[in-house]
Symmetry: C2
Subunit: 389 residues, 2 copies
């Protein structure tokens, strides 16, 4: 059974169909794993082969299409009628001579959708160029449209049930970061800290399980603090170095990221100053956030708040978050940066991460928030500071 | 510094260029993370944004192109000269108005490659349809060719240094499966078993670190044993149920998968019989394996070995493995199934996984092997049997 009540899924499908109508799309082919999960409940690490769901304006329920061995997984995890779970034979997998999208095209033709306006998620990972080329070849009478981010935009405003999941993820995030700070110290191997962090992520709390994050623990120490996306090795932590941590608590694929910086030893002046500027700037930015303000104005507030310092942050300040699968926990819709005029609205969830990855100093901290009716609330409870060990 | 000696990378690039010449490709755009790592050493969880390396016949070294904040990561992890590490501005990330492939096309034009025959990895995740469409639009005089699996095919035969990595992964795999079997029992939550498994995967051995697997622990119990790709929840294991485990040991992104089945209680007759047939069939198949036999003949041997039983396995028996990143540890080249006429050769590595996911019974076991000069050797040392607790 899926993890939400069935009416939740029906509501999501209704909103998706509304957007499809507005975009002139009759049939939407959804291959992004989080979007598949969002619309049907489908869950499973089967996205390393091609699979999709089809949402058609003229059919109430979506259709799941995937590899034969995963059809039972679809029966277990989705609310779909079994007649709407369709499997392809195993010789379509990673074949030189046939492609799963040829099978999908056959289903589309059989249902009489071969001349429809078909939307595809053109810039989502898991929808390769060849997926498109095979569909185009197999469906010569269809009109293809870009349905990229169409479902992602529906995901932007969370239901109360989803917010409950996000808060559960936040509880796990607290435990995860506490574990990291307790574990990391002089002489401890990075890999053993990563192991303790993963243990906390997967086991969750006494009441509920944690889940695997869409991004593994990012943990940069020493020289590596000048870049944000490295992981770990058998290297041991040393005295007088910073450790940047970008982690997450996850509950049923809903993410509450948490980022903090540890300094092992006495932080040098540049680290002290950088952390103070960033922490103060982040707090001023948060104080500004409420429904109705735009994403770009939040970034502007941040820039103003650090203007008195030498810090320049060229990358976006943050982005929207929610349900996701590897490789990204970001929703890829709202970005907190110049040009993004999205108005913040209640039950959007944002990850603000003013990370600084300079040659001379690196510092990370974040805020993971829900927009409320009047302002914002944090999805976890954890001190906003530089941790010194 | 990259993890292999630089001459290893130069050898890989040489082999890649040879295949490019044979395929009529002047410039290869490589976006698959394992291929990027294989050719340059690049490592980092940055593949959630578009990035690539360019391999040109007329230039010795590849060029890395990625997001600004990841350029220092490329400097740390690759052997490339800094002039060959090129970064794009952050406003290319997940933008409605510009795309990283426009930037890549600009680099291609600046280098005088705008009219060349350009190969792309058309069916690799991380090369979306829009990547292709933007390149095609920005490079109207280029001739595009499919370079899918070109680098993957170079990866098929491992160097001795890579085999050493695979064996280190195998050592970790032994520890990982032992941890799983020791942990799983009546009343234990699935998520706590998953946590113990992840801990073993990441921490590795006393001598060297483990790494994150390209596929998280797959662990099906009870009803879920009729499908292969589910994960875990807070559900507790019960007496008289099977637990199917597909895990992996990983060393610096090199994978040694390991799959076994646990029965908690007294295995019923059908489970006993199924496991005996599969284990005996796998052993007979392994006894047949040596250099010169074809992938499809290995599958035929397996089919013959279980022909006396009622077991039918419709999915492929296995595939080649090595270095990889999420979402797949398979190399996507050799498949052990009818029609694959690849001849096995020394230092190929294969994952044979005769998994049975019936409604009435599920059973998994595997063999993860290297082809030797005369036969095969297992990459880990672990009993081939049904584990009863």
């Amino acid at each position: 059974m899926p993890v939400f009540e069935i009416y939740e899924y029906r509501e999501r499908i209704k909103k998706t169909k509304k957007r499809m109508e507005d975009a002139g799309i009759d049939l939407l082919l959804v291959s992004q794993p989080a979007n598949m999960n969002y619309l049907t409940g489908y869950d499973g690490w089967s996205f390393y082969v091609h699979q999709c769901i089809l949402v058609s304006l003229d059919q109430e329920e979506p259709i799941w299409i995937g590899r034969g061995m995963d059809a039972n997984g679809a029966k277990i995890t989705t609310f779909l009628k079994h007649e709407n779970i369709i499997q392809y034979a195993d010789d379509y997998v990673q074949s030189d001579v046939k492609h799963p999208m040829n099978f999908v095209a056959d289903v589309i033709k059989q249902r009489g959708w071969g001349k429809k306006r078909i939307g595809v998620e053109a810039d989502q990972f898991y929808f390769t160029h060849r997926c498109y080329a095979e569909l185009e070849k197999s469906l010569p009478n269809a009109i293809f449209k870009d349905g990229n981010l169409l479902v992602n935009r529906v995901r932007l405003i969370k239901s109360d049930a989803e917010i409950d999941f996000m808060k559960k993820a936040g509880k796990i995030a607290e435990k995860v970061m506490k574990t990291a700070i307790d574990t990391i110290d002089v002489g401890v191997r990075e890999c053993d800290a990563a192991a303790a962090i993963a243990h906390a992520q997967y086991s969750g709390t006494e009441e509920y399980a944690g889940d695997y994050p869409a991004i593994v623990p990012l943990m940069m120490a020493g020289e590596a603090t000048k870049t944000p996306h490295l992981t770990w090795s058998e290297r041991e932590y040393k005295r007088d170095e910073a450790v940047l941590l970008e982690l997450s608590g996850v509950y049923r694929h809903y993410h509450a990221p948490i980022a903090r910086t540890i300094y092992i030893g006495n932080p040098p002046k540049l680290m002290q100053e950088t952390s103070e500027v960033v922490l103060e700037g982040l707090q001023k930015t948060l104080d500004y956030i409420k429904p109705g303000v735009t994403a770009e104005s939040v970034e502007e507030k941040w820039r103003e708040a650090i203007a008195h310092s030498t810090i320049v942050k060229e990358s976006r300040l943050g982005y929207s978050i929610g349900v996701n699968y590897p490789p990204d926990w970001g929703e890829q819709t709202v970005s907190i940066r110049p040009g993004d005029k999205t108005e913040l609205r209640p039950n959007m969830c944002l990850h603000l991460i003013p990370g600084i990855w300079y040659e001379e100093v690196g510092f990370e901290v974040d805020a993971t928030i829900r927009i409320t009716e009047t302002g914002y609330e944090s999805l976890y409870d954890f001190p906003l500071k530089l941790f010194v060990k």
